[in-house]
């Protein structure tokens, strides 16, 4: 709704979607705390809570549809991610991984859910916060398990390497663990959601522009743009699920890495 108004109002010539299309106005008043992404995040929390409370409230041995759906998601994170990657003692980290997965998944899917249609994670601050959580948690686990000195030594000094190689390798190891890991974790999610939303804006906004064009030729061609918008929506669905999976997978891997004594 926002994008169509913006494009039609901007007069002759197609105005391609830009970063300004991500700065949505406040829904209530002019506060920065009531913009669409912030409201979407709160809505996602309510949605997730209600869903899983309903799914687990009347837990039966023979599950109903809702319980089955809830348990499938939980089982996927628990078995396929936590248990397989972390191994023994994985149960302690299931709550974090499960919360992370569901939170990111729902907020990503907001990108294609009608009337919301905005992936929260396309605002980089949200993935940053998630990456900070993972960062603090996996380092805390490593320090708790191995002690500060042993943990940091394990990161910085790989055993079985000639002494002079440490000059080359230690800066890389430290940068990987303390800078690259959290940054790539958040930027990967952000960039995928940002680019995906932009792609949908291009095809659907473009189709809208062509439909309102004075030339009949453009009107006839506009369904192709809309059609590609629909194809891209399905593609986005795939990317949204995949990115939720990847951020959880990497968080599990980092935790597993912190638990292992020898690198």
């Amino acid at each position: 709704m926002h994008i169509t108004g913006h494009l039609v109002a901007s007069g002759p010539g197609f105005v391609p979607p830009s970063t300004s299309d991500f700065n949505l106005p406040s829904i209530v008043g002019h506060s920065a705390y009531t913009t669409k992404p912030v409201v979407a995040v709160f809505f996602s929390i309510i949605l997730i809570s209600v869903f899983f409370i309903l799914a687990s409230r009347k837990a039966a041995v023979v599950p109903g549809k809702l319980q089955f759906a809830g348990e499938s998601i939980y089982g996927f994170v628990r078995k396929d991610l936590a248990q397989e990657i972390i191994g023994s003692g994985f149960l302690a980290y299931v709550p974090f991984l499960f919360t992370l997965f569901v939170f990111v998944l729902v907020n990503n899917l907001f990108g294609i859910i009608p009337f919301i249609q905005f992936p929260t994670m396309s605002h980089v601050s949200f993935p940053y916060v998630l990456a900070i959580f993972t960062f603090v948690i996996f380092h805390a686990i490593g320090i708790k398990k191995q002690g500060v000195v042993k943990y940091l030594k394990g990161i910085a000094f790989l055993p079985g390497v000639p002494k002079f190689a440490y000059i080359l390798l230690t800066p890389i190891e430290i940068a990987t663990y303390f800078l690259i890991r959290p940054v790539t974790l958040s930027l990967r999610l952000f960039a995928n959601m940002f680019a995906g939303h932009l792609l949908l804006l291009v095809f659907i906004g473009g189709g809208d522009y062509m439909l309102h064009d004075t030339h009949l030729f453009m009107k006839i061609l506009s369904p192709f743009s809309f059609g590609f918008g629909i194809v891209m929506t399905f593609f986005e669905f795939m990317v949204q699920c995949l990115q939720a999976y990847i951020i959880t997978l990497l968080s599990a891997l980092f935790i597993a890495g912190a638990l292992v004594d020898e690198h």
């Binding site: 080359l168 390798l169 800066p171 890389i172 940068a175 690259i180 997978l249 690198h263």
Partner: protein, 64 residues
Amino acid sequence: MASNNEEGALWSIMGYLISGLLIWGGIGFGLDHWLHTHHYFFLGGLLLGAGASIYLVWLRFGRQ
């Protein structure tokens, strides 16, 4: 199990390659800036970083 761990190794390898280029390329860039040389240290740093991170990847994932 193997597929998940392989996928994990893939992402870790990418991280090492990026940070190798970033750190040693960055040090080279800084040296160029400081000594007013024309990108020699930057180029050298990038090559050194690429080499070192590939060596590190081999140490971490290729030794077993």
